[in-house]
């Protein structure tokens, strides 16, 4: 039986190499493309003929878009709306990857359970926060780390801590998502192993497999919830970091 970590194994579908880097098309790439395809279908159908009174698909897309816009309005303010497409992209990409990973099929893969992917997304967010911050405030952007109204000694101390915590943001953002996804899928796989292991118990087949199966059903529901919540958390933190860059607190 496959171990619980085997589901995170990359399988090369088409090997590509460029400049000494292995850029192979793998199952991770495939599922990112599937996510892209699902999102594209959703968005193109939903906005094919935008109308004042929306149809079902348009209402669905609008609901998500409005959700992101409200989040930006609340956390950033009126200037946050310019970044709505970006935050929306991050949100829906993470959401699609998380949810598609929940498809109970042996070939399914969750790109967001790989730290390379989540770190890539976090670096996109971090880079944009830095670019926006320095473009708007120049070197005054560093006042973000200076506690207002404190002495030089305490101030510099806090400055160092704040600066380090700022630098660690992409890693915490990436690790939070990666760890949540990985832990959930490991848990599901472990209980799945229990179902098979206990269910094939010689004297009383199937009976002992029922309990871990029930647990797995409940866990699947929980994991779907976590998939949605983690996408929301990722987008929310991205907008909070953006708020720092735009408003300096």
């Amino acid at each position: 039986m496959a171990g619980p970590m085997e589901q995170f194994e990359l399988e090369t579908i088409h090997p590509i190499e460029a400049g000494g880097f292995d850029l192979s098309f793998t199952n991770s790439s495939l599922w990112m493309l599937i996510a892209l395809g699902v999102i594209s279908l959703f968005l193109f159908v939903g906005t094919a003929r935008p109308q004042l009174v929306p149809g079902r698909m348009q209402a669905a897309v609008e609901y998500l878009y409005d959700f992101v816009r409200k989040m930006l309005d609340e956390n950033v303010g009126p200037e946050g709306r310019r970044f709505a497409p970006l935050i929306f992209s991050v949100f829906i990409f993470v959401l699609a990857c998380n949810l598609l990973g929940m498809v109970p099929w042996v070939g399914s893969f969750t790109p967001t359970s790989h730290i390379a992917v989540t770190l890539g997304l976090a670096i996109i967010v971090f880079a944009i926060v830095c670019i926006v911050g320095f473009a708007r405030h120049g070197l005054k952007f560093f006042t973000l780390f200076w506690p207002a109204g404190s002495g030089v000694l305490l101030g510099s101390f806090v400055f160092v801590i704040e600066f380090l915590s700022f630098l660690s943001r992409p890693f915490t953002l990436a690790i939070r998502l990666f760890a949540n996804m990985t832990a959930g899928h490991v848990l599901l796989k472990v209980f799945g192993t229990f179902v098979v292991g206990l269910g094939s118990f010689g004297a009383l087949p199937y009976v002992f497999g029922i309990l871990p199966l029930a647990v797995n059903v409940a866990l699947t529901g929980l994991e779907v919830l976590i998939a949605v919540v983690q996408a929301y958390v990722f987008a929310l933190l991205a907008s909070l970091y953006l708020n720092d860059a735009i408003n300096l607190h």
Binding site: P85, G120, F178
Partner: protein
């Protein structure tokens, strides 16, 4: 954990993430969401416009009602004023008539009093004359001597006065 096998999993995933995310952002989201954003803003403007219009209509209705109430109050005041005026006029006219009637009655009364007085005086004068004549006759019959007219008249007057 396969995730930490960086040499094998890192660059290929970053590369494909960059491709898919770029297509997603520039090819899908940037093409579709602004369209939707415009429609949502149009809807917002329309809704707020309709609300404004409704508010305006309500304000004009309120103003009309206020004007109506004001007119009504004014008319009521005018009516009340004219009623009071008419009442006062009527009272004045009645007063005048009563006064005139009083005057007339008084005049009649004085006149009647005067007539009565004259008649009384006349009657009194006649009584005096008759008494004097009678007294003169009585004195003549009793004494045979005819008293002088002046004496008789004086005596009669004194007797009548007493």
């Amino acid at each position: 954990m396969p995730q930490f096998d960086f040499a094998n999993v890192f660059w290929s995933q970053l590369f494909w993430l960059a491709i898919t995310f770029s297509i997603l952002y520039f090819g899908v989201v940037k093409l579709t969401l602004p369209k939707l954003g415009r429609v949502m803003e149009d809807r917002e403007t329309k809704v707020t416009g309709d609300l404004d219009q409704a508010e305006e209509a309500k304000a004009s209705a309120d103003a009309l009602e206020e004007a109506h109430v004001a007119t009504l109050n004014k008319a009521r005041d005018t009516a009340r004023g004219s009623v009071a005026e008419a009442k006062a006029e009527a009272a004045k006219a009645i007063d005048k008539k009563v006064k005139a009637a009083d005057k007339r009655a008084e005049a009649k009364l004085t006149k009647a009093q005067a007539a009565i007085d004259t008649a009384r005086n006349k009657a009194l004068g006649q009584i005096e004359a008759v008494a004097a004549e009678n007294a003169s006759e009585i004195v003549t019959k009793l004494t045979g001597a005819k008293p002088s007219a002046a004496t008789v008249k004086k005596a009669a007057k004194a007797a009548l006065a007493g």
